[in-house]
């Protein structure tokens, strides 16, 4: 007789899988079972930002080619767990096989797509600027650092992977909030464990991606006011909270981006990059 071992769903911070420091959980249906999902506190968010800030330097300095390889490997990991994702989507969200496969394909495509973009960014968006003096003048896009990502209640795996990969491609680290929505019935938390495991095994340095499950209303003000979250991708449906974050973000000059479904991929990447210009004397 074999004993079935169920997976415990926890947070993903700094490459590790801790429980929330607050000890708070909410019981949700996960697959055929019930699971205690962590309700992250502001201290968990703070720890996640510490981890993301520590990891940001190394990830930004990694060669674009290497970043591409790692994002591609994330796609490979998702492909390898296709049955697990499909089962989870069916059990939790009631998706049929066709819909689950469409979503998984979209997620994998997103990572592969942005993996290919990493080493083309500075060609596409960078420039050699003509100047009057004897200087070479280059402009290149550089990552801003730690980017917050607030995911929507309406869950789409493809869109979620697109959000993550587009921020990562530029060399940023991410602190993402998967909102619990209506008492944990939202789709985001369901995907937390396998996605975190895919990212943890794809050579992404620990801390480059951090995933929290929590309440939007509780954590949104902290996403807005934390000075080390340098930009924020707001994907949630609640416009009032967006206004609140934008207001909190004015003080620290945070870029709060809430782009629409039609925003082109290149724009998604460069939303979280800033342009730097360097002057080099000719002949030096």
């Amino acid at each position: 007789m074999s004993v079935k071992v169920f997976k415990t769903v926890k947070l993903f911070i700094g490459g590790a899988f801790p429980r929330t420091e607050s000890g708070r959980v909410v019981a949700v249906k996960l697959g055929a079972n019930e699971a205690n999902l962590c309700v992250a506190s502001r201290k968990d968010l703070r720890q996640a930002v510490e981890a993301a800030e520590a990891a940001a330097g190394g990830w930004a300095k990694a060669s674009a080619y290497n970043r591409g390889q790692i994002l591609y490997r994330a796609a490979e990991m998702i492909e390898g767990r296709r049955p697990e994702f499909a089962q989870l989507f069916a059990d939790t969200l009631g998706w049929d096989a066709a819909r689950a496969n469409r979503e998984i394909d979209a997620g994998i495509d997103a990572f592969v797509y942005y993996a290919g973009f990493t080493d083309k960014l500075s060609q596409v968006r960078g420039a050699v600027n003509p100047v009057a003096s004897r200087h070479h003048v280059f402009t290149t896009p550089e990552p801003v650092g730690v980017v917050g990502l607030i995911l929507p209640d309406a869950f789409s795996f493809g869109a979620m992977c697109d959000d993550l990969a587009s921020i990562l491609a530029g060399g940023n680290s991410v602190v993402a909030l998967l909102p619990l929505g209506d008492g944990g019935k939202g789709g985001c938390p369901a995907v937390l464990a396998p996605l975190a495991e895919c990212l943890a095994t794809s050579d992404l340095p620990g801390g480059v991606v951090n995933l929290l499950t929590g309440e939007l209303a509780e954590l949104a003000p902290w996403f807005g006011s934390h000075m080390e979250i340098r930009a924020l991708s707001y994907r949630h449906e609640d416009r009032a909270t967006l206004a609140l974050i934008q207001k909190a973000g004015v003080e620290n000059m945070k870029r709060v981006v809430a782009y629409g479904a039609d925003t082109p991929p290149l724009k998604r990447i460069t939303s979280f990059m800033e342009y730097k210009t360097a002057w080099h004397p000719v002949g030096a």
């Binding site: 703070r46 930002v49 800030e53 902290w222 006011s225 934390h226 000075m227 080390e228 003080e251 620290n252």
Partner: protein
Amino acid sequence: MRDVKLRIPGGGTTVIPGTPVDQVGIEERAAHFATRSIKKGSKFDALTLALQMVDLTTLEGADTPGKVRQMCGKARQPISPAQWAEITSGKEAEYPMIPSVAAVCVYPKQVPVAAEALKGTNIEIAAVSTAFPSGQLPRDLKLKDVKRTIELGATEIDMVIDRDAFLRGDYQTVFDEIVAVKDVCGHTHLKVILETGELQTYDKIRFASWLAMEAGGDFIKTSTGKAAVNATPGNTLVMLQAIADYHAETGKMIGMKPAGGIRTAKQAIQYLCMVRETLGASWLTPDLFRFGASVLLNDILRQMYKQITGRYADRRAFSLD
């Protein structure tokens, strides 16, 4: 360890007790300080106190007068008045300008630079001496080192004990050397660095602490910051307990300086709790407790920022030195 009888240079003997340390008990108690929650009202006061206890340190081969001057500026004014005014805007009465740190700690060659930069302040100038960090020089050269360092303007001397002699069991040599250094120091404050990371056991750390206090050290200090293991809650607690017992026996109040590895304000506050609960509130002053640290200062500022504004601060918002 067993009790060891040592000759006091100039006459008489003293017994250094070889009191054993309960390793499990010490580690359990030390770990317990990390689980405390400090309430908001006390936190700002604790941060201010920790800031006043910092020996702002730079001990690198690459230290230059420019770097030392920069650090001294930071020691006098950990944050610029303009930046402080911005942070405390609307709450000026509640948060007056923060104090300066207790001391700077530099190599002897940089002492004149620090003395010049700190003229007119009451910030102490601590200098590491006696062939810091290894202590591997003949005694006459170590004493010259101390003498010259004081002449250059140092007001506190951080000496290292002779670990070579200590680990061989030649405690008399270690004792005599501290006595000789204290003799050269005169009224200059003497901190004795045990380099606990190299002493192997808590028993030896406690023994070395007692020996250093008995030999005339005004402070005992955990480490140079150059060894693989520096200040830990465990070895600091052993030393604090030794200070408490020494005080009970002799009535002398000896200071304590953990150094190396204390990087966050949270750790610093844990150390303060440890001092308060081992030695009592009378030790919570820069005269009797110091942190040997550099990056700690900016983390204290960051946490102060959080306490005042309610927002998490950006570490890049504060000057590095």
